[in-house]
């Protein structure tokens, strides 16, 4: 128990966070790459074609993990936003701002691969269905968090606090958007064909396995990318502290 408490406190201080996570980067990247390669080969070649969607369902192996990550990362941003706003923890600020670019990237990826999947399945690249619409609004939320930060970039602490506030507002707003959009589409179009239609039919382990592997791979990649950016963030915002200059004397 003591060890966990000690670890928790260490992760809260920028110098030890920087030191500890430095050891994690390489293993995380290697794990992410290996899992991606394995998952994609498994998904593209060894998983059987879907009885309804044929080979096109294989887009799922990048689309669904990306969609999961886009929501998961926003959740992380919201939670670290709360921590950053209430307790003013620098590491939480770093985690929040480091998560935003990769989260936005996954959201964009979800939208683009969703479009590529929509064309053969629905016959159109874009359909204003509930999932796609709320994913698009999620992208705006990411842009908002990053936008407010970069607007105040001459004062990083203030920028981070305002960005945290935006992130928290977004976190509260997200379920409202989600349900209003779902309600909106259910009234106007009737339930549209769900893009996950093939997913609910997945009971075969050989189809599920690549999906889970890819979900793990994207999680590891997120951790790598986020920690990398968080470390740079801390270096940048703590430039005047002695621990930063020590880092460079040693090297």
């Amino acid at each position: 128990m003591n060890k966990i408490v000690k670890f928790y406190h260490e992760m809260g201080s920028p110098p030890s966070f920087y030191r500890i996570t430095g050891h994690w980067l390489k293993p995380l990247l290697i794990l992410a790459l290996l899992l991606t390669v394995y998952g994609l080969i498994d998904g593209l070649f060894f998983a059987p074609p879907d009885y309804q969607q044929g080979d096109s369902y294989r887009i799922m192996f990048v689309h669904v993990p990306a969609a999961w990550m886009s929501m998961f990362i926003y959740f992380i941003i919201g939670v670290s936003g709360i921590i950053a706003f209430v307790w003013r923890m620098k590491v939480a600020e770093a985690v929040m701002m480091a998560s935003a670019p990769i989260g936005a990237l996954f959201t964009a990826l979800t939208l683009l691969t969703g479009m590529l999947w929509g064309k053969p399945m629905w016959g159109t690249y874009w359909d204003w269905d509930a999932r796609m619409t709320s994913e698009l609004i999620l992208l705006f939320l990411y842009i908002g968090v990053m936008g407010i930060y970069s607007a105040y970039d001459d004062d990083p602490r203030k920028a981070a606090r305002l960005a945290a506030l935006v992130a928290i507002i977004g976190l509260i707003n997200l379920p409202i958007i989600r349900y209003s959009v779902e309600w909106w589409t259910s009234i106007h179009q009737g339930a549209s064909i769900s893009i996950m239609g093939g997913n609910s039919g997945i009971k075969e382990w050989s189809m599920l396995r690549p999906l889970l592997v890819m979900a793990l791979a994207t999680k590891f990649y997120y951790l790598y990318s986020m920690l990398h950016r968080a470390r740079s963030y801390l270096l940048r915002t703590e430039q005047n502290k002695s621990w930063v200059s020590k880092q460079f004397i040693e090297n």
Partner: protein, 220 residues
């Protein structure tokens, strides 16, 4: 007591600068002229898009006035004075939002039937149009204070303001424009209006807190 003084002062300031009040209306009129020019003047086509256009115009014309809710008060230091005077900041925010609503939301509501006539909105939908705008324009002002407080000391915050506020307003637009649309289609708008009222209550309770927090950070 202070609430009323602040409200009165803000309305008076806005009233002296008349352009604040008629500019959004002129803007609405300009944009609404473009729709028939672009779409063709067929009453059928216009009727179909009328609920959405009236609603989106009301939304955008309030959006363009949001940027300055706190700007002047921030620049001349009176915002810092409110906090020093011991006035509860969320209450001050509500006063600001109320003043903004009286000077932009209310004119927009009064002007909405004119826009609706130009777009051939079916007669049955006017009541619901007014009702939905009556509930929704205070929401615009309340949520607007949040966005405005976040960008109040930026020079060109307008674009950022719309990015920040669009996700907040999306549900309001869905319920509000939806209510009018359902009425034109002959359905009952009760569900939409109820949810819109829910949005109002939610933004009345949460938006002042969020805006006050943003002001505090900006004044630090």
């Amino acid at each position: 007591m202070r609430f009323w003084i602040l409200l009165q002062r803000d309305v008076l300031v806005a009233w002296r600068k008349k352009s604040n009040i008629y500019q959004p209306l002129v803007f609405q009129l300009l944009i609404v002229t473009m729709f028939p020019l672009g779409l063709g003047a067929g009453a059928q086509t216009l009727q179909k898009i009328a609920p959405a256009v009236v609603w989106i115009l009301a939304l955008i014309s309030t959006l363009i006035t949001l940027e300055n809710i706190f700007k002047d008060d921030y620049e001349d230091g009176s915002l810092a004075l409110y906090t020093l005077s011991g006035m509860s900041l969320p209450v001050a925010v509500i006063a600001k939002a109320a003043a903004h609503w009286l000077t932009t939301g209310l004119p927009v509501i009064i002007f909405a039937p004119v826009i609706a006539v130009l777009l051939h909105l079916p007669a049955s939908a006017y009541g619901i149009l007014m009702l939905s705008l009556l509930i929704a324009t205070p929401i615009f002002s309340l949520l607007g204070t949040v966005g405005s407080a976040l960008i109040m000391n930026l020079k060109n915050g307008g674009m950022l303001l719309s990015v920040l506020i669009m996700p907040l307003l999306a549900p309001v637009l869905i319920f509000g424009a939806g209510a009018v649309l359902e009425t034109t289609l002959g359905n009952t708008p009760v569900g939409h209006i109820t949810l819109l009222a829910g949005c109002f209550v939610l933004s009345l309770t949460l938006a002042p807190l969020a805006a006050a927090a943003a002001i505090k950070v900006n004044l630090e």
